[in-house]
Amino acid sequence: MNLRSVFSRAVHLLLAGAPAMALPVGAQEYQVNLEANRLVRFVSQTTLDEFEGVTDQVDGYVLLDSERLSQDTGRGHTELYFEVDLGSLETGIGLRNRHMRANYLETDRYPYAVYSGELKGVSVTETGFSVTARGTLSIHGIDRPAEVPCRVSPVQDGYRVTCAFQVLLSDYDIEIPKVMFLKLANDIDLDVDFMVRPAGGSE
């Protein structure tokens, strides 16, 4: 091995490792606080029936390009990743839970709904911040771009995050049987509410 190839390999290794290792100065990772209340709720509303499903099994992180959230956040590199354990959704009726898991969401094959992306647009409000996330929502093995508006309010050393948005089951290849179409809506309202705190804090 000559000097050039050795140096080339070393530089290559250095550069390959750099993106994963080097984050902007002052970047701060926040993780979902598993000790605090968490809620993910969906509501299906049709003329014949309305029901909701809830779970507290949401986890993930957000990486800010600053130590704290501000209106300047998002100008640098940010990341966010959240996942919901779909098998834990509870609708209040066991049979409906089973149908949801086995027939619609197929949770044995696709156990998580995942949202990953970055922060775009942070504005200051009276109670905290209004934040827009831009990324990809993955449900039932299908990835779709999704822009999610959230309210973020400071809580102790972290933040409370509440988001509300809508998904279409048809966008995610979730088929509603004809016998069920009057009882299960295609457009599902989603509410998410959880807290994040700095990574490495007391857990």
């Binding site: 290792m21 992180y61 016998v179 069920m180």
Partner: protein, 286 residues
């Protein structure tokens, strides 16, 4: 590797090490999944009963199960003149069950045959998986009061019945559920002044054709006795939705409650004795 090459590699490493602090206190994202995904619970039979025999499945804590079932007395073979039995008369059963825990349900069901009022309970004892086979075990039992038999002399003291069933359910693959139910019935025949004891074995099967549809059948092996000469059987079709089970069936018995069904039937299981029936159950949350 030559000395020059080693020097180059070492220099690169030093450069890398020295450059890291310049990028700040940077480190990769530390988050890792902290909890495992929820596993789907074991399911064998989807419904809490086939036609008459209970399954080991229970409703969940806080759930209500409301049941309306009919058995038409005229036979299917009576033809269009009796609207294949739908003209009636009909025996019916109304029931309400409550899930006290995810494993214990308590029900009160009434059949208008002898005004049989049955207070019962069912416990899901256990469940598991072994390869492609899932199983579920349960126990069920109840006490029945027959207030409609008072017109018969001497029967005032013999209107109480009791029953118990062990329930073994097995699911083969994704779509074939089987059940075996050893049972005991106290006082199967109300016309007897001295109560008898009846042992039985129930057999149940269900083939799931799709997410929502299935075919089922059941048979109850019981001892022959006067007025209950034959063993009861049923087969039919089931449709399930998110909160309902609809069953339509053919059977040789109109005796709907467990203390009636387990003892046998006066009708032979033949095409000329088949009777139409249906069960509708609705699940609600308190």
């Amino acid at each position: 590797m030559t000395a020059t090459a080693r020097t180059a590699v070492l220099g690169t490493c030093i450069l890398f090490t020295a450059a890291t602090p310049l990028a700040g206190q940077d480190e990769p994202v530390r988050w890792q999944r902290r909890t495992a995904a929820t596993q789907s619970p074991v399911t064998v039979f989807h419904s809490t009963q086939t036609a008459n025999l209970p399954t080991a499945e229970t409703i969940e804590r806080g759930e209500l199960e409301i049941e309306i079932s009919h058995r038409f007395l005229p036979t299917l073979s009576d033809g269009s003149g009796a609207l294949w039995g739908l003209d009636g008369p009909v025996f019916n059963r109304l029931g309400l069950s409550v899930g006290f825990t995810d494993r214990l349900m308590v029900g009160l069901v009434r059949s208008n045959l002898d005004d049989n009022l049955d207070l019962n309970a069912k416990v899901r004892v256990g469940e598991g998986r072994a390869g492609a086979v899932s199983f579920m075990l349960g126990l069920a039992g109840g006490i029945a009061l027959n207030t409609g038999v008072e017109a018969f002399e001497g029967l005032e003291d013999n209107e109480t019945q009791a029953w118990a069933l062990g329930i073994v359910n097995v699911l083969l693959g994704d779509g074939v559920a089987l059940g075996v139910l050893p049972g005991y019935l106290y006082n199967p025949r109300l016309a007897d002044i001295v109560p008898e004891h009846n042992l039985s074995v129930g057999l149940a099967g269900q083939v799931y054709l799709s997410d929502l549809t299935s075919l089922f059948g059941e048979w109850n092996l019981s001892r022959e006795r006067a007025d209950l000469e034959h063993q009861a059987g049923a087969f039919g079709f089931e449709l399930e939705t998110g909160g309902h089970f609809f069953k339509i069936l053919l059977t040789n018995t109109v005796r709907l409650n467990p203390s009636q069904y387990l003892g046998g039937t006066p009708f032979e299981f033949g095409t000329d004795q088949w009777r139409l029936g249906f069960n509708v159950t609705r699940l609600l949350h308190l």
